[in-house]
C-alpha cells in the first residue's frame, strides 16, 4: 500500500495520511440493546500530517476532534476510512486495517499525551515505574539500561533524575504533565497525539509545557497531532490547523490564514469569539446564534447552515465537499469564493 495523493508541494511524503475517516457510535436502547440510531462523531474526515509538523484539530466540544485522534491510535475502531502511516522502515501501512497484534509494534511509534495530569499517572507507581513501563511492555533493555533511559528522559523534560523514586503526588500539575511527556517519549515515537495537553494546567505553567513541547519537537524531530479547544494555544504551537464542526472538516489552513482571512463562516465565527487580548480592542462581538448541531440528528446539507448568515437554498440540501480553493486552501463551503469574511 503506498499513497498516491501523498505528494505535497515540497515533495515530502506525509507521516500520516487520513482519508475518509468515519466513526459512528450506535445509540442502544431497551432490554435487547437494539440500535436505534447512530452518532456520527467523525464523518468523512481527511487530512495529512507532514513529518516534523504540528497539526491541530480544533472545534467546539462534540465536534469529533478527540474521537478522530483516538480512532487514529485505534483506541476506537474506525467505522470506515484509511489511516495511512509511514513507519520507521518507510513503509506505508493502513492502521485501520491492522489487527491488534499487528498494531502492537506500530504503537511504539505513536504515543499519546493526555489532558489531565492528575488522572493519567498511576498514584501507586513511582516515576521510574511510570516512565519505564512502556519499555518493559515492549521488552526493551535490561533493568540498568532502563534506569539510564528514564534518567535521560527526565533530563530531557527538565526534571531532575534524582526524583525518579518519588510518586506522582509529590509533583505539581506542570511537572506531572512533563512526566507524561517523558513517558510518551520513552519509545522514541514518530508521532505524538496530544489531547488538550495544557488545558488542565494553570495559566502560569502552560507556557513552560508549550515551550518544552516545541523544543522537543525541534531537537527530536517529533510530529504532533494536537487536539485543543484553546485557539490561542493552537495558534502558538501549530503549523497547520484543521477546523472541525459536527464531525466534519470546515477548513484547513495555517493559523495566520485562518485568523486573518478565514474562508468558512464557521471559522470566522470561531476566531471572532476569541477574546481580544487588550481592552482597547473591544469591538462589537460577532455572536454566533443557536447551538451546535446534534451529531445524532444533524441538519440536512451543510451542518452549519442553520447558524450561518450566508446560507442559501443549496446549503440546506447539498453537503459541501472539502475542496481546494483558488489560493490552495481547503474549505468545505459552497460559497467560499464569493463571501468576504473578517474576524473582528
Amino acid at each position: 500500500m503506498t499513497s498516491e495523493s501523498a505528494q505535497n508541494g515540497n515533495g515530502r511524503q506525509p507521516l500520516l495520511d487520513v482519508r475518509g475517516l468515519v466513526k459512528y457510535f450506535p445509540i442502544k436502547r431497551g432490554f435487547f440493546r437494539r440500535t436505534v440510531g447512530t452518532v456520527k462523531a467523525v464523518d468523512d474526515v481527511s487530512f495529512d500530517i507532514m513529518s516534523g509538523e504540528t497539526l491541530s484539530l480544533v472545534g467546539e466540544s462534540g465536534c469529533g476532534k478527540s474521537t478522530t485522534a483516538r480512532s487514529i491510535i485505534r483506541a476506537y475502531e474506525p467505522t470506515d476510512g484509511e489511516i495511512l502511516f509511514r513507519t520507521e522502515e518507510d513503509e506505508s501501512v493502513d492502521l485501520a486495517q491492522l489487527s491488534l497484534t499487528e498494531m502492537r509494534p506500530i504503537r511504539r511509534q505513536l504515543q499519546m499525551i493526555f489532558q489531565d495530569p492528575f488522572a493519567s499517572l498511576n498514584p501507586r507507581m513511582n516515576i521510574y515505574e511510570i516512565i519505564s513501563e512502556p519499555l518493559l511492555v515492549h521488552g526493551i533493555g535490561t533493568s540498568d539500561e532502563r534506569e539510564d533511559r528514564v534518567a535521560e528522559l527526565l533530563r530531557l523534560v527538565r526534571l531532575r533524575p534524582e526524583y525518579m523514586r518519588r510518586y506522582p503526588h509529590a509533583f505539581s500539575g506542570g511537572q506531572r504533565q512533563r512526566i507524561g511527556i517523558a513517558r510518551a517519549l520513552a519509545l522514541n515515537p514518530r508521532l505524538i497525539l496530544a489531547d488538550e495537553p495544557v488545558s488542565g494546567l494553570d495559566v502560569s505553567v502552560q507556557a513552560q509545557v508549550i515551550n518544552l513541547m516545541m523544543d522537543l519537537q525541534d531537537s527530536l524531530g517529533l510530529t504532533y497531532l494536537f487536539v485543543s479547544h484553546d485557539l490561542s494555544v493552537v495558534k502558538q504551537i501549530s503549523n497547520r490547523v484543521v477546523v472541525m464542526y459536527v464531525g466534519r472538516i470546515a477548513e484547513i489552513g495555517t493559523p495566520q490564514e485562518l485568523f486573518d482571512s478565514p474562508k468558512h463562516p464557521y471559522t470566522a465565527a470561531l476566531m471572532s469569539s476569541v477574546p481580544k487580548p487588550h481592552p482597547s480592542q473591544r469591538t462589537k462581538r460577532y455572536v454566533l446564534e443557536g447551538e451546535v448541531a446534534n451529531p445524532a440528528n444533524p441538519p440536512t446539507g451543510c451542518y452549519f447552515h442553520p447558524r450561518c448568515p450566508f446560507a442559501t437554498d443549496q446549503c440546506k440540501v447539498e453537503v459541501p465537499p472539502l475542496v481546494e480553493s483558488k489560493d490552495g486552501r481547503f474549505v468545505s463551503c459552497h460559497r467560499a469564493d464569493e463571501i468576504e469574511l473578517t474576524t473582528n
Binding site: D202, V203, M214, K235, L270, V274
Partner: protein, 348 residues
C-alpha cells in the same frame, strides 16, 4: 511563619460610591494537616453598574472570596475576620456590614440570591437534577418576591426567553439534563437575574464553555448589566475575558491581593511582577505562531507550604534578596488609580 513581626493590616477607608466594599477579609480552612489561609486579608471595592474582574490561578482564593461575601463557605472553612459593606444606594444611605448577619438568618437569606446573586462555574452540577427548571426558578422567586404562583411562572418564562432559550414555556417543565451546557449556564443566569440583583457574582461563568458559547454569555451579561445598572464581580483566570468585560481588575495570588486598578492601566502598565509575568506568558491570538513565550518559573506553592515574606518571591524575576523573603509587602497606592503590594514600589 513570622506572625510575631506582622502588623495587622490597617483597614482602609471605605470608598463612598461603592455598592460593595470588602475590607480585610480572612477566610481560613481548619484542616487536619493545618490551617489553610485561603483568603488572607483581601480588600476591594465594586461600584454600581461596573464590572470588577478578580484574576488569579488555582488556589489564589478568588472563589472563596466570592463565597465569603454570600457566607456560603463550606466547612472546615470559616470567615474569621473582615468587613463586607453592602450599600444598595451608595451616597444616600450608610452601608451595612453584611458579614455581621447570621449566615442562616432571614436578613442574609433575603440578600443571598436576592440583592446579591451568584452564578457558578459548573452549570452542569449547579442545578438539582430531581426538579424541573421551573420548580427551581420558582423556589428562588417564592423566597424573594410576593408574586402569585401564576405570576412567578410567567416571570420564569420571561427570563428564559430573555436569556435566549427557545420554547421557554415548554422548557420550564423540563429537567436540567435536557439542557446543553451553554443553555444551562444561560438558565443559571436567568435564575440569578430574576430577582433583579444589585450585585451579580460570576465565578468562572464561562470556563467550562466553548469560545462561541462564551461570547454569547459575555454578551448576555453585558446587556443585562446595561439594563439593570447592576454591578458584576467577575472571577476568572482568563485575562482575555478580563480584557473584554472588566472595568477594574484585582489580581490575587495565594489568598492576597497583589495588584488592583482600572483595566486599561492593568494591561498597559501592570505593576506587580506576577501581573507582568502573567500578561507576557499567556499566548494570545496576536502572538505569532511558533514563538516561544517567556514562562514563569516554578509552580504555585502548596497552600500549607506558603513561602515566607512575599509569597510570590520564589518565582519572582525582580526578587530582592534579604527583603522579599523576610517581610510581607502591603497593598498600597502607587498612583491615583493603581494599588500594588510589592517592595519595588515601596519608596514611592
Amino acid at each position: 511563619m513570622t506572625t510575631a513581626t506582622q502588623e495587622p493590616t490597617a483597614i482602609r477607608e471605605q470608598s463612598e460610591e461603592s455598592i460593595l466594599s470588602v475590607r480585610g477579609l480572612e477566610t481560613h480552612f481548619f484542616t487536619d494537616e493545618g490551617i489553610v489561609r485561603a483568603v488572607d486579608g483581601v480588600d476591594f471595592d465594586v461600584k454600581p453598574g461596573t464590572t470588577m474582574g478578580i484574576v488569579g490561578e488555582s488556589g489564589c482564593g478568588k472563589s472563596i472570596t466570592a463565597k465569603s461575601i454570600l457566607q456560603i463557605v463550606e466547612a472546615p472553612g470559616r470567615i474569621i475576620n473582615g468587613e463586607i459593606s453592602y450599600n444598595p444606594s451608595p451616597g444616600e444611605r450608610p452601608a451595612t456590614d453584611i458579614l455581621q448577619f447570621d449566615a442562616n438568618g432571614s436578613r442574609m437569606r433575603s440578600i443571598r440570591g436576592g440583592e446579591i446573586s451568584m452564578i457558578f462555574q459548573e452549570p452542569m452540577t449547579s442545578f438539582s437534577s430531581l426538579h424541573t427548571f421551573g420548580n427551581q426558578i420558582d423556589e428562588t422567586l417564592r423566597l424573594h418576591t410576593n408574586l402569585s404562583k401564576q405570576e412567578r411562572f410567567e416571570l420564569g418564562v420571561d427570563w428564559l426567553a430573555r436569556v435566549g432559550i427557545p420554547n421557554p414555556t415548554q422548557r420550564m417543565h423540563e429537567y436540567p439534563f435536557r439542557f446543553s451546557g451553554g443553555q444551562l449556564q444561560r438558565a443559571m443566569i436567568a435564575m440569578a437575574m430574576c430577582t433583579n440583583p444589585r450585585v451579580l457574582i460570576a465565578d468562572e461563568p464561562t470556563t467550562a464553555l466553548d469560545v462561541t458559547t462564551q461570547a454569547q454569555i459575555l454578551d448576555l451579561l453585558q446587556r443585562m448589566q446595561e439594563e439593570n445598572d447592576m454591578a458584576i464581580l467577575f472571577i476568572t483566570h482568563d485575562l482575555g475575558v478580563i480584557a473584554e468585560i472588566a472595568d477594574e481588575v484585582t489580581v490575587m495570588y495565594l489568598g492576597k491581593v497583589v495588584e488592583s486598578g482600572p483595566v486599561h492601566n492593568f494591561f498597559d502598565d501592570p505593576l506587580h511582577p506576577y501581573s507582568r509575568a502573567l500578561l507576557t506568558s499567556i499566548p494570545s491570538m496576536f502572538t505569532s505562531s511558533r514563538e516561544r513565550l517567556p514562562s514563569i518559573s516554578g509552580s504555585i506553592p502548596h497552600p500549607l507550604n506558603r513561602p515566607p515574606g512575599c509569597s510570590f518571591h520564589p518565582r519572582c524575576e525582580s526578587f530582592i534578596s534579604g527583603v522579599c523573603e523576610t517581610r510581607e509587602p502591603q497593598l498600597d497606592s502607587v498612583n491615583e488609580e493603581q494599588e500594588v503590594s510589592c517592595f519595588l514600589y515601596e519608596d514611592r
